[in-house]
Point group: C2
Chain length 163, copies 2
Amino acid sequence: MRMGEGVEWGLHCCLTLAWLDKGPVPSAKLAALFDVSPTYLNKCLQRLVRAGILISTPGPRGGVQLVRAPEDITLMDVVVALEGRDALFSCTEIRQQGAAGAEASAREFAHPCGIATAMRRAELAWRRELAGQTIADLMAAAPTSSARRIRNSYDRIAACPAR
Amino acid sequence: MRMGEGVEWGLHCCLTLAWLDKGPVPSAKLAALFDVSPTYLNKCLQRLVRAGILISTPGPRGGVQLVRAPEDITLMDVVVALEGRDALFSCTEIRQQGAAGAEASAREFAHPCGIATAMRRAELAWRRELAGQTIADLMAAAPTSSARRIRNSYDRIAACPAR
DNA sequence: GGTTCCCTACTCGGATAGAGTCTGTCCGAGTGTGCCAGG
DNA sequence: CCTGGCACACTCGGACAGACTCTATCCGAGTAGGGAACC
């Protein structure tokens, strides 16, 4: 049970886009900033577009940019967009199957499975923590030099066309 | 990012073993209780054995049983035993790579990545919640009829040899 | 010189292979029990 | 009747395929800008 690598990429990209605060930024440039697969990063950004976090503009001078303000984008938004909204723990109700479930009254299953409830409680704590932090919080927590360095690096690679 | 199905199986088995409170219970009998693959359930139980949650005794009248008391087994123990102790979010430090990392001073990376810190905080909330609940808590939360029903079902299938 | 048209280059977007992990299966090693033969 | 040995059946444990998702890649559709030709 590991999270996809795209989550890390997506978060770094959102943070970078917030710092740059420019017009459209090509996904290829973002990939060059972090030295990751340009095409696969593009796939991840597509999911963020579909989720309404980014907006993309085609053609020359095109790229992606944030739709909302950084303080209105939570980590949970990004995680859900990239990993799906499925629960970590999915209860398949095995308590109702086999010999254990065969001899049970239907009324007993009116209550949700205690195991599922317990796992769900833990998962809600995780989601709550994710929903409580925004891209703006990440910007505030990072050292101030990071923003300038990102802008400098981007300006440098933005000069070379079609890199 | 979904948890393996074995977690659900393992938790139900631990709960069942706690309710039965007998000597060794064959894994095949546990599989029959929930109508799951006997061989794969065996594989999951092996992991619980290696983690020190269960103990297994071979031979006739053998099987698995809980090592510790139900109040000393947390959900986190079971999850870690079955899913590994890897973190949900693994930081690969892409901030140090590519154009963004090339022009940075090494001192800047002394601080841990803010994204990793934020994700780790959420994950710790999840783990803390998991570690705060035990098998005994699940027993207390379940309706009292569940324990009797499990015992009845087990006694019934325990009669048939080698099922 | 101004305007219109076309062409090129660049961008995203979805369809297409490869790798790793999860799920499921099989067979062998080890052990306790029950039976049988001998005393 | 009691005791010792033996064979069997049952259990776990690790080695072996299939399926699915994640990762990575390629190519096509669409668009804006720039240049050339024409008025």
